[in-house]
């Protein structure tokens, strides 16, 4: 009899523990869903500090491995075009933050911002592979210094356009996207060849 009661008590603990765990996990997931990871946050902070002024958060969303997994499974039931299908199939995690500067800055030095972003990201083991500044717009793409193992690629992107800042970070399987890009290039080459033949 005491043994049975003890077992009953144990099961009670297990169930209570599981419920508490699920609640905490759900709460953490929900909070985490609206927070950027540390690398993306560091990139965002470096840009914000470089531009100065007061920033307003428009949106910040984080979708981890599980969320993107659910999206992948769910999307199988939908009829999608090749491009979004390839993007969904590739994605293993993503986060996006959109921010807006409350007042128009007097001047923005993209070179200075890029240098700040480089410093912040290289301290975290990232290197910039692309940096483009054009007409006051700034785009920079960072990837981990050791990247590309197993066809997986992790990228962190910043886009600064006057008062708007977008930081995006994504991790994905490059195979499906690359396949699509190659098909596209092939199709465009054929089209260009066709047009050239028609003209000549």
């Amino acid at each position: 009899m005491p043994v049975g009661r003890r077992q009953g008590v144990r099961w009670g603990y297990v169930v209570t523990g599981a419920v508490v765990f699920i609640c905490v996990w759900a709460a953490v997931s929900v909070i985490g869903f609206f927070q950027l990871g540390s690398d993306t946050s560091a990139l965002r902070e470096s840009v914000m500090a470089g531009v100065g002024g007061s920033w307003e958060k428009k949106i910040a969303v984080h979708a981890g491995f599980l969320t993107t997994g659910f999206i992948r499974i769910g999307s199988k039931a939908l009829k999608l075009k090749a491009e979004p299908r390839a993007a969904i199939e590739s994605l293993r995690g993503a986060e996006v933050g959109v921010y807006s500067l409350r007042e128009r800055p007097a001047s923005v030095d993209n070179g200075f911002i890029l240098a700040r972003a480089d410093k912040a990201m290289s301290a975290r083991g990232w290197e910039r592979i692309v940096g483009v500044s054009n007409d006051g717009k700034l785009v920079a793409v960072f990837c981990p210094q050791r990247s590309g193992s197993g066809g997986m690629l992790k990228l962190c992107v910043l886009v600064l356009d006057e008062r708007n800042l977008v930081v995006v970070s994504g991790k994905g399987e490059m195979g499906p996207l690359f396949e699509l890009a190659m098909k596209r290039i092939g199709r465009e080459k054929k089209l260009a060849e066709f047009i050239r033949r028609q003209i000549s």
Binding site: S107, D109, N110, G111, L114, A115, E127, R128, I129, V130, G131, V132, S133, N134, G136, L138, C143, Q145, R146, S147, G148, S149, G151, L153, M174, G175, F178, M182
Partner: protein, 190 residues
């Protein structure tokens, strides 16, 4: 005394580390220095390292084996495009001239030097015998427009150079032919 010894040891260690780093840099790698984005005008910087190149190489392998083979030999691709303005024109022209002088001194082969319509193009190759190109440098300065600096580092077969020019859109390379280890340009700009 102890502090001096520590300082000496630290200095020795640091210089050894720096020397080791300099020694491990591939022979085809050229340091153009850092480029600052101008306050107005275009600026583009692309720096692709070996890990990313090998990722693309593995992805492209089944579709284009020849290109994949070329990519496997590449270690680094660096491209800098900077808009010219009154502020940076002089500095960038000087920099290109200085890099050119250094390359000449370090045994690089100048395969193209063309000056036409305000366009100044220089192409250099670092070769290892007749079999391999270890590095490629393209410096192009278009008066009133932009300066372009390209450095491709790797182990490239001379026969792959025109494909490299085609795939990476480096026009001066497309017309380049290597005959008997010596580079020649089709249109005779050399």
């Amino acid at each position: 005394m102890k502090r001096t010894k520590c300082l000496l040891l630290l200095t020795t260690l640091l210089s050894t580390a720096m020397l080791a780093r300099a020694e491990t840099a591939p022979p085809g790698q050229v340091d153009f220095g850092t480029f600052a984005a101008p306050k107005s005008g275009d600026f583009a910087e692309i720096n692709i390292s070996s890990s990313l190149i090998s990722l693309v190489s593995s992805l492209v392998e089944q579709k284009d084996a020849e290109f994949s083979q070329l990519l496997k030999g590449l270690h680094q691709v660096r491209v800098n495009v900077v808009s010219l303005s009154d502020d940076n024109r002089g500095e960038l022209e000087k920099r290109a001239a200085k890099v050119g002088e250094q390359l000449d001194k370090n045994g690089w082969e100048r395969v193209v030097r063309a000056q036409k319509d305000g366009k100044n193009v220089r192409v250099y190759l670092k070769t290892q015998g007749k079999e391999a190109v270890q590095g490629l440098v393209v410096m192009a300065i278009e008066e009133d427009h932009q300066a372009v600096f390209v450095n491709v580092v790797g182990d490239i077969k001379p026969s792959q150079l025109s494909m490299l020019g085609d795939k990476l859109h480096i026009d001066p390379l497309k017309k380049l032919h290597i005959a008997g280890g010596k580079a020649e340009r089709e249109d005779g700009d050399n």
